[in-house]
């Protein structure tokens, strides 16, 4: 299992860089993971998305469908890609510490 180290953060991640144990996620970890996704700083916009994702996941046990994400956060798909260049699944979910999206590829 690869170790991912960034500043003081050191966590186990899988090959795709997704966190292995979601329980270990915190804001620092988010920042650390963001760095791998071409995101230098987490702005308010980033946090709005991350928080929405985490809350949704906590409530329903799944990541929201993307249309729902856009609708409920008010960001267009384009804006999400601007915030997380590798997109909502690979980028935002990773930073938010969610289970890796699967299946539909």
């Amino acid at each position: 299992m690869p170790k991912f180290e960034w500043q003081e953060v050191s966590i186990d991640v899988d090959e795709d860089g997704f966190i292995e144990d979601p329980a270990l996620w915190n804001e620092q970890v988010a920042l650390a993971l963001a760095s791998t996704e071409g995101v230098d700083a987490l702005t308010e916009d980033h946090w709005k998305l991350i928080n929405y994702l985490r809350e949704y996941y906590a409530k329903f046990g799944i990541a929201p469908m993307i249309r729902k994400l856009c609708k409920e956060t008010g960001y267009s798909l384009k804006e999400i890609y601007d915030l997380f260049p590798s997109g909502p699944a690979k980028g935002a979910c990773k930073v938010a510490g969610l289970a890796k999206p699967t299946g539909c590829v």
Binding site: F18, F60, G61, I62, A63, A99, T102
Partner: protein
């Protein structure tokens, strides 16, 4: 690594096909009036203007190296003004306006190890998938079986002596990438054991509701196992489709002992004569036997043989079986009829024989 190109562009889409059409095609685009299949793998299309384009079609294993592509390109340069195309069944085609190019091109292709054929009432390439070469989901390999079967059937690629077209497809798991569900003969990789649930790891890496929702027979259900919120599988309800594994890595089904293949027959896609049809189960299980899967090869060859011997002209596999009846098919093919053949999914009742139309 090399320096990035100056400007990063996205969403340019594929090259416009217009750039890639051979001149004779471009000139007669949409103006073809007829065609003739001249010999196996060679046909000519005739345009309103009287212009002709000859096509030579060669087999391809689909999994090819860049060097092979380059070899194709060289042939294209040599005979086809630098153009070539691939077919919807992954064969390669060379188009030329020059009749005299056909024979030498054919020779070159055969020398390269690529038989020319697959046209008209023959067996064309096997549409297939990734198998052990690339996919996590595979219950078998794809390319190896295709190679073994086509080695046995290549003469039916290079001849045109079948009653109709025969389309074979292979998919390495029930996701059925390709057209296995509508093929004259389909080879399908299957699992036969329920998923092995990694109980503790599962909630960390999988969405539990998604895993539960993924099961067509509701065999996956949420469970709390020694304090962990995870899922369990009701094994009697599992028919090994692996859809749970598709959405959840912690539910692996692969099993060297029990994985294997099944054979399906009688599907078709074209609207010619009979409406499109799904393939139907012929042989429920054949074990994996790499590298040459002799049992699969025998099974396919056997079915091809009885069909080609008994079908009437232009009768595809499914049309033929419909005419003679399934009982006769099983008898002629020497395949024992078993409980697995009887549908038990959603529309099962509609597959029962609801008449006395029986052939004795």
């Amino acid at each position: 690594m090399a320096a990035e190109p100056v400007k990063r562009v996205t969403d340019i889409g594929p090259p416009h096909y217009g750039k890639y059409l051979p001149p004779v095609v471009k000139a007669n685009y949409g103006k073809w009036v007829d065609h003739e299949i001249l010999e196996p793998g060679v046909m000519v299309h005739i345009a309103e203007s009287g212009a002709k384009v000859y096509t030579v079609r060669a087999a391809s294993p689909r999994l090819i190296s860049v060097n092979k592509i380059r070899a194709y390109c060289d042939l294209a340069d040599k005979y086809c003004e630098g153009f070539l195309r691939f077919t919807s069944r992954n064969n390669v085609e060379f188009l030329t306006a020059k009749a005299e190019n056909v024979a030498p091109m054919k020779k070159d292709l055969e020398a390269l190890g690529h038989p020319v054929g697959g046209m008209a009432n023959s067996i064309s390439n096997i549409v297939h998938t990734q198998g052990w070469v690339h996919c996590h989901s595979a219950a078998t390999d794809a390319s190896g079986i295709v190679k073994s079967v086509m080695d046995a059937l290549h003469e039916e690629f290079t001849h045109m002596r079948m009653p109709g077209k025969l389309r074979i497809a292979l998919a390495c798991c029930l996701n059925m990438c390709g057209a296995v569900h509508c093929s004259d003969i389909a080879i399908l990789g299957i699992h036969r054991k329920p998923p092995k649930v990694e109980t503790e790891r599962l909630p960390k890496i999988c969405e539990i509701p998604t895993a539960v929702a993924s099961c067509p027979t509701a065999a996956v259900r949420p469970a709390n196992i020694s304090g962990v919120n995870t899922v369990e599988v009701i094994e009697e309800s599992c028919m090994y489709c692996a859809n749970c594994f598709t959405v959840c890595p912690a539910m692996k089904l692969n099993d060297a002992e029990n994985d294997g293949l099944s054979i399906w027959v009688g599907g078709k896609v074209s609207n010619a004569r009979h409406e499109p049809m799904f393939s139907k189960l012929a042989i429920p299980y054949i074990p994996n036997n790499p590298p040459c899967w002799p049992e699969v090869v025998d099974a396919v060859v056997n079915i091809v043989k009885i069909w080609s011997k008994n079908a009437q002209p232009y009768e595809r596999m499914g049309e033929w079986i419909e005419r003679i009846g399934w009982p006769k098919f099983f008898k002629m093919a020497g395949i024992p009829f078993s409980r697995e053949h009887i549908d038990d999914f959603k529309h099962a009742g509609l597959t029962y024989k609801r008449s006395t139309h029986i052939r004795f």
